[in-house]
């Protein structure tokens, strides 16, 4: 086997954490269900919860992408540093709590979800530092080729974005009755839109870097550096610009961006086929070929953007 595999114990620990985390959430939600509140008393509550659940979904999509992508890439890196198991654990937990949050129709932040999302945010930050160190210590430091082949600088950010999207979901859900959802004093819709815009631009940079490494050998490789920037532009406008009743163009672009993320998986599967030996040489091509779990991070961000639009449309004065 390669130079270092995570000890089986760690892998069981990951699975165990995910199971225990899920169980913990289930237990907690059981207690909470004992106190239903009449919906009529909270006219704005259902739209808030709807927005929060959308954000949980977005966080979940991002977490799935991170879990699968970091698993493959860190396996390629032979888990040579034990910390490389962290994004698998954190991503896995984020996925579980996001599923939970998606199913959860109640108002109020959930402490376990909050904790897991905060952990994801932290893991993403620390991961970025690790990746910066990994690239910086290669001969030539931050040269193009080390950015191509070293630890991808933008990849841990996807975990960071999953965590922050989830964190935003909980803050939105936590809105007291009769109030406009706000995050750190700012209207939630605009905050999420701004975060989405930044997240999209970061993901564009990452995809653009790796497609540049691939010399844009297929014209479709231009898609993730043309469409999502437009979405990001519209999102930035939504965040900072004048309020507007309808943003049909932004909504359309975001929906296209969701599709783009899914289409990317298809393109990457086709790309594996174009490597020498195709699927017969899967053990090499899964590592050297285009990363299959990466494109859905665009989908996750676009879903967050759609949630932001929903918030802004539901609370136009916010």
């Amino acid at each position: 086997m390669s130079s270092r595999q995570p000890p089986a114990a760690l892998l069981w620990a990951t699975l165990g954490a995910v199971v225990i985390g899920g169980a913990g959430l289930a237990l907690r939600s059981g207690r909470r269900a004992a106190r239903p509140l009449p919906l009529a008393l909270h006219p704005g509550r259902s739209s808030t919860v709807r927005a929060a659940r959308r954000l949980n979904r977005a966080a979940g999509v991002l977490a799935t992408s991170v879990l699968a992508d970091s698993a493959v890439e860190h396996y390629r890196g032979s888990f040579h540093n034990r910390a490389m198991i962290a994004p698998l654990i954190s991503g896995g937990l984020s996925l579980v709590v996001s599923l939970h949050g998606n199913a959860d129709k109640r108002a109020g932040a959930h402490s376990v979800r909050d904790a897991v999302y905060a952990l994801a945010l932290l893991t993403g930050l620390i991961g970025t530092a690790f990746h910066l160190y990994n690239v910086g210590k290669k001969p030539g430091g931050f040269r193009w080729e080390n950015l191509f082949y070293g630890a991808p600088l933008g990849a841990p950010a996807a975990l960071l974005l999953s965590g922050s999207t989830g964190y935003l979901a909980e803050r939105v859900r936590d809105t007291p009755r009769g109030r406009i959802p706000r995050i750190a004093g700012f209207p939630a819709g605009r905050t999420v839109a701004a975060a989405t815009a930044l997240g999209l631009l970061g993901t564009v940079a990452e995809a653009g870097l790796l497609h540049f490494r691939g010399a844009f050998n297929d014209p479709f490789m231009f898609a993730p550096v043309t469409l999502p920037p437009l979405s990001a532009l519209c999102m930035a406008n939504a965040a900072l610009g004048p309020r507007r009743r309808q943003r049909w163009l932004t909504r359309a672009l975001l929906r296209l961006t969701v599709c783009l993320g899914l289409a990317g998986v298809g393109f990457h599967l086709r790309g594996i086929n174009r490597q020498m030996g195709g699927w017969h040489n899967v053990r090499q091509n899964l590592l050297n070929g285009p990363p299959i779990p990466a494109p859905p991070s665009f989908s996750g961000l676009a879903l967050a953007g759609l949630a932001a639009l929903g918030l802004m449309e539901d609370h136009p004065d916010g």
Binding site: M1, S2, S3, R76, M276, G277, H280, R283, Q284
Partner: protein, 214 residues
């Protein structure tokens, strides 16, 4: 000398993506080399065996790579190298003359055929050949140093290191098509490569003070 990669066998990857059809065909033929001489006479064959045993001594606990068979095959099929030193005759003639000269030198130095000398005597004779110190008329003007350097060493050692047994011994990845390698960095291996080597047991490397050779 203990094995450094025990259990590693390049042939075990024969039906994996590391081998293609042409490679299987070629290695099969390599392993099925004729064990009977087609170029050399029986006497030359015996001398060649003794010579190969000294140039590449092989462990007794393993099926030997039949080095003389590969030398014989090269000469029988007329496989050339693409160049010949002006002072050397064509390879077949060089080998016949060289083997005969080696026997003549053995007789004149130790009074016995080369095949009957003990390994130390054989090695001493070969060392003198390498240094150009043998001058028996049997060489017929062929410089013994050139014969040793450009026929004996390459023809015999190439045969050894072109054999899967040798690849296993040194931990070479072996055939690699269509599947090559994903992990190319220092201290990184793909699962289909040889595992990390066991530490060396012989004196040379440890005497140099290596932190570890595996």
């Amino acid at each position: 000398m203990a094995e450094r990669y025990p259990g590693y066998d390049v042939l075990a990857k024969r039906n994996t993506p590391s081998w293609n059809a042409k490679t299987r065909e070629v290695i099969d033929a390599r392993l099925a080399v004729s064990r009977e001489p087609r170029f050399f006479s029986p006497g030359e064959w015996r001398t060649l065996w003794a010579l190969c045993d000294r140039i590449v001594p092989q462990p007794r606990d393993r099926a030997p790579v039949p080095l003389p068979a590969y030398v014989d095959e090269k000469l029988y099929t007329g496989q050339l190298d693409g160049y010949r030193y002006a002072q050397l005759p064509v390879q077949g003639e060089a080998w016949r003359r060289g083997l005969a000269a080696l026997e003549a030198e053995a007789q004149s130095a130790c009074g016995a055929p080369f095949t009957q000398l003990d390994p130390a005597q054989q090695d001493a004779l070969l060392g003198r050949m390498q240094r150009g110190e043998l001058t028996n008329p049997a060489w017929q003007g062929m410089p013994c140093q050139l014969f040793f350097e450009h026929r004996v060493l390459p023809d015999i050692t190439h045969a050894y290191y072109a054999h899967p047994t040798a690849w296993n011994e040194i931990g070479f990845g072996g055939p690699a098509s269509p599947r090559g390698y994903a992990r190319m960095g220092l201290d990184r291996r793909d699962p289909w490569e040889a595992p990390r080597a066991l530490p060396t047991t012989h004196g040379t490397a440890s005497a140099q003070g290596h932190r570890s050779d595996g």
